[in-house]
């Protein structure tokens, strides 16, 4: 009997289970199939910092949320329409987020007395009526998986572990996802383990067939592809996009890529990814600590390569002195800080924007560093390219501020044409650039391009241009050590002026103000772009006139920043810190920016932000 098919415009699914249940993998697979269908999507993985927190406990719950739609969407969604709970802990941890009337798929096999007690349920919520407000689908996922695998030569444990594939198969049926990609994925993953391949494939197909036959699901859903710009698309996470952006910028500049890094969540994946690409001449160096990671990258930059280091907040703190040296040496260097909750070790797997002031000011002396922030997972590609462009063109370290949400989240991405990349030209010095008083031709490393103020860059191996640079103050032009007060004053101001000049090469701050009549401007930077955009949309749907502007460049700020800020009666700035950019803008432009902040380790919810915007607008 063919079941009814219902058309939906968007769905938010959350897979939740134990850290060992494979929820991230399940989410990733569902995402891939969804991307292939052409839906717009956004994802939010949320996992514990512990590798294997005690099984069945609340701290051990790992979740993956996916929002997909037939139109363009900006966030992974506030609250799920469907929650898949693999055990009582997953149910307990996630139920508060589930709106009444939503679908709840529960693995009843795990609802044993012991497991229920472990998370503080005296009675099973499946039986005490507390789930009446939801459409509960009670399914013995584990035993059905084991049953489906009775003819496969796997241990009981191995069979049980395939239950995530059963769940995935069921969800794929429910939402009309294609299955070929997952089958191909399993074939690759278990290429050397044919029995496990069989087990996982059968479990996946069994889940799909179960959906088709069970009375429990009377309808299935279809979500049409979202209309997007023509082109070739893929799905991509922030860290992968960052790694690819660095590679592309290396190709564009002709500078071989050198990555010096020390593992730290949530940045390590960039190191993992780039270490695979030796054929591009990429050198990855896992250093003894963060200081050595950035030091080695700076050494490579001195050698005429593209020096990059990747880290998170604690690592950025350790790198500070070396970044200051790079400011003084005026060498290109890219520092990617994938921010996480702080201070100290903080919340390693959660997101935050609290390193902004550290990136801008966390060094001794006047040490201005350009700062660039991506706004979405795929935008990490562009941010990486832009950072390299600035670093190489202006001979300066540049900090990229991504965060845990962007790093692990993913979205569809129109694959760029490499010809669209900006020009990145190292313009190495090859000959003397100065004539001394006695008529000798010599090389002055601190002679500058009059327009960009970039200094002359000669790599070792270039005959006749031998020179020494260092952290001691340098004489303007010659680069020789100088303790002259007037020269120091000049050099401090020149280094600042050079960073300020970058503004001439960046686009103005773009304001989205459809009627050109908004009373309130909502500002943002970095990963809040999606949630702010979604909230602004809601407000506009409710008839409010709201303008939105989002910073990519935090230093220097676009030239029109002051003009934009002063055009609006009310300026609201949501940040996932305690108001770092708001403080800066207030101080710099004397504009009464309203700061709205949250530091919960999670991205803003669009609904919450929408009411904050409404409130701020009505306060006028």
């Amino acid at each position: 009997m063919a079941k009814q098919v219902v058309q939906l415009d968007r769905v938010i699914i959350r897979f939740a289970g134990d850290s060992g249940d494979g929820m991230q993998l399940t989410g990733d697979r569902f995402t891939s199939e969804t991307a292939m269908l052409g839906n717009d999507l956004a994802t939010l993985p949320d996992f514990p910092a512990e590798i294997r927190a005690p099984a069945g406990t609340l701290p051990g719950v790992s979740a993956f949320q996916l929002h997909f739609a037939d139109h363009d969407i900006m966030t992974p969604g506030d609250a799920p329409n469907v929650l898949v709970a693999m055990n009582p802990a997953a149910l307990k941890a996630n139920l508060p987020d589930l709106p009444r009337g939503s679908d709840l798929i529960v693995n009843t096999d795990e609802f044993t007395k012991r497991n229920l007690h472990r998370v503080g349920y005296d009675e099973s919520p499946m039986e005490d009526g507390s789930l009446e407000a939801y459409r509960v689908h009670a399914i013995p996922l584990t035993s059905m998986t084991v049953g489906a695998l009775k003819d496969v030569d796997v241990t009981r444990k191995e069979a049980e572990r395939a239950k995530n594939m059963f769940a995935l198969g069921l969800l794929c049926w429910l939402y009309h996802r294609p299955t070929e990609g997952t089958i191909a994925f399993l074939e690759q993953k278990f290429a050397s383990k044919p029995t496990l391949l069989r087990a996982n494939t059968i479990a996946f197909e069994a889940g799909w067939s179960f959906g088709e036959t069970t009375e429990d699901f009377s309808v299935s859903y279809e979500i049409k592809p979202a209309p997007v710009r023509p082109g070739q698309y893929r799905n991509i996470s922030g860290n992968l996009a960052m790694a690819h952006g660095l590679l592309a910028a290396s190709w564009r500049s002709g500078l071989p890529l050198f990555l010096g890094s020390y593992p730290i969540t949530p940045a390590s994946d960039i190191l993992h990814e780039l270490s695979k690409h030796k054929r591009f001449g990429v050198r990855t160096f896992q250093a003894e600590d963060e200081i050595a990671g950035v030091g080695a990258a700076l050494g490579a930059a001195f050698g005429g390569h593209l020096g990059v280091t990747t880290t998170s907040g604690p690592g950025l703190a350790l790198k500070a002195e070396t970044v200051g040296l790079a400011v003084s040496l005026e060498l290109p260097l890219v520092i990617c800080d994938i921010q996480r909750g702080g201070p100290s070790t903080g919340l390693p797997t959660k997101t935050e924007q609290s390193d902004l002031l550290q990136a801008l000011y966390g060094r001794n002396g006047e040490a201005p560093v350009p700062v660039v922030a991506p706004r979405s997972p795929s935008d990490c590609f562009n941010a990486a390219v832009e950072a390299v462009r600035i670093a190489v063109t202006y001979r300066t370290p540049v900090i990229v501020l991504s965060d845990g949400y962007l790093a692990n989240g993913s979205e569809p991405w129109r694959i760029p044409d490499l010809d669209e990349l900006p020009t990145i030209d190292p313009e190495f010095a090859t000959e003397p650039n100065h004539t001394s008083a006695d008529g000798k031709e010599e090389f002055w490393p601190y002679l500058r391009d009059p327009e960009t103020l970039a200094r002359a860059w000669a790599a070792p191996g270039t005959a006749g241009l031998e020179h020494r640079i260092g952290g001691l103050e340098k004489q303007d032009g010659s680069g020789n050590v100088s303790y002259d007060p007037a020269n120091h004053d000049l050099m401090v101001r020149t280094r600042q002026a050079k960073v300020d000049r970058i503004a001439a090469s960046i686009p103005p701050l773009e304001v989205d103000d459809p009627g050109d009549d908004a009373d309130i401007l909502v500002l943002g930077w970095g990963s809040t772009y999606g949630p702010i955009g979604a909230a602004v949309r809601r407000c506009r749907d409710a008839g409010l006139h709201v303008a939105q502007a989002h910073f990519r460049h935090l230093n220097p700020l676009p030239d029109n920043t002051e003009h934009v800020l002063k055009r609006y009666r009310t300026v609201l700035l949501p940040e996932m810190n305690l108001g770092q950019l708001a403080m800066l803008l207030r101080g710099r432009f004397l504009v009464d920016v309203i700061s709205y902040t949250q530091v919960r380790g999670m991205p803003f919810k669009a609904a919450e932000l929408a009411s904050v915007i409404q409130e701020a607008a009505s306060d006028e």
Partner: protein, 370 residues
């Protein structure tokens, strides 16, 4: 300015191929021999008059021409300290960096540019205190670097605090009642850190110093050269026992590869291995010459070299062995990395634009027409 960017992809990736034959393989050689004066800069040297650093600078400048490598392919990287001003006085490429981090910076440079001869200049505080971590890891990795550790057993630049090589009980500005901690023996430390080349020499012995520099330059891998250097302002005479004509012959053990280890004006002392495996200084007249330890700098196992490093008294430095303790061939980190790169290119082809485009596109793509 035109722009001869080194080209996307590989730079001299195969430099390591002949390294066994020629330790300087991959570094371009000169057409015309260079002279000492070619390595001098126009910058005024600013060490205190009488500082041991002058002697080391002169020795380095006069020995480099014999390597026959191009000046523009030599780089000196230093940390912070009196000794770390060294690069400013060398007419090569150079970087005066930050305190303790020179080995890390030089590592990145050496890994990226196998066509360079990279030298690190560091002090006892720079290398063993703030930069201790970088030093041991550089040694362990065996990156192609020559590390000149100027050991004056004091912090010179900060005006005379005790250092990690100062003898216990050292009275300085920061330790008016005497320092409490036991010093490092840099040679022992390096040997424990898997170093493939470890040597010690003295600033005032130009010939010995030059010989050790030469050996280090011809070692492919991380070479640690500890140079006892007099700071005549804050720790004058720290090595007097090893330098004074009336004491040095009895206090210094000169190591020569392949030779029985003897010292003293008449060669009256020797070093022998005891039945329990330890090394002992013996009276040659009594002990005879046949059973003396023959120095083997190429011994695969560093145990004997380590034992030799322990003969010295940690405080007075009496019975200090100088010369090359250890010089063994071990594949360098950079050569191994370049082999991995070359193998990846052999297996998968070079990463050119189409390959990059494929990589960025990934395996799961879809096309949208309208």
């Amino acid at each position: 300015m035109n722009s001869p960017a080194p080209g996307f992809g590989l730079i001299a990736a195969a430099a390591g191929k002949d390294s066994h034959v020629d330790p300087l393989a991959g570094i371009p050689t000169v057409d015309e021999p260079l002279k000492t004066k070619d390595f001098k800069t126009d910058q005024e040297v600013r060490w205190c008059p009488g500082c041991g650093d002058y002697a080391v600078l002169a020795a380095v400048q006069s020995f480099l021409p014999e390597l026959n490598i191009r000046r523009e392919n030599i780089v000196f990287v230093s940390g912070i300290g009196c000794s770390s001003r060294f690069p400013y006085y060398m007419n090569t490429y150079g970087m005066h960096s930050i305190h303790g981090r020179a080995p890390a910076i030089a590592t990145g440079l050496a890994i990226s540019r196998p066509d360079l001869s990279v030298w690190v200049v560091t002090g006892d505080g720079d290398a063993l205190s703030i930069g201790g971590n970088h030093l041991i890891h550089a040694l362990r990795r065996n990156v192609n670097l020559k590390v000149l550790l100027f050991n004056n057993r004091i912090y010179g630049l900060t005006k005379g605090q005790y250092s990690p090589t100062s003898e216990q009980g050292k009275v300085t500005k920061s330790t008016p009642l005497g320092s409490l901690d036991v010093p490092f023996n840099p040679v022992s430390l390096a040997l424990g850190a898997e170093a493939s080349f470890v040597a010690r020499t003295i600033d005032s012995d130009r010939k010995h110093l030059t010989g050790v520099l030469r050996a280090a330059a011809h070692h492919r891998g991380t070479a640690l050269v500890e140079i006892y250097q007099n700071c005549n302002i804050f720790n004058d005479g720290a090595f007097e026992l090893l330098k004074a004509p009336d004491t040095r012959d009895d206090a210094v053990i000169r190591l020569e590869h392949g030779e029985p280890i003897r010292f003293g004006a008449e060669g009256q002392h020797g070093v022998a291995r005891m039945p329990d495996g330890t090394l002992r200084v013996v009276d040659v007249a009594e002990y005879g010459t046949k059973r003396l330890l023959v120095h083997d700098a190429h011994a695969p196992n560093p145990e004997v070299a380590f034992a030799l490093s322990r003969l010295a008294d940690p405080s007075s430095l009496n019975a200090t062995a100088i010369g090359v303790y250890r010089d063994v061939h071990r594949a360098t980190y950079d050569d191994l990395l370049h082999e991995q790169i070359a193998a990846a290119v052999d297996d998968q082809g070079i990463g050119d634009r189409p390959v990059l485009e494929d990589l960025i596109a990934g395996k799961d793509t879809w096309h949208v027409d309208t």
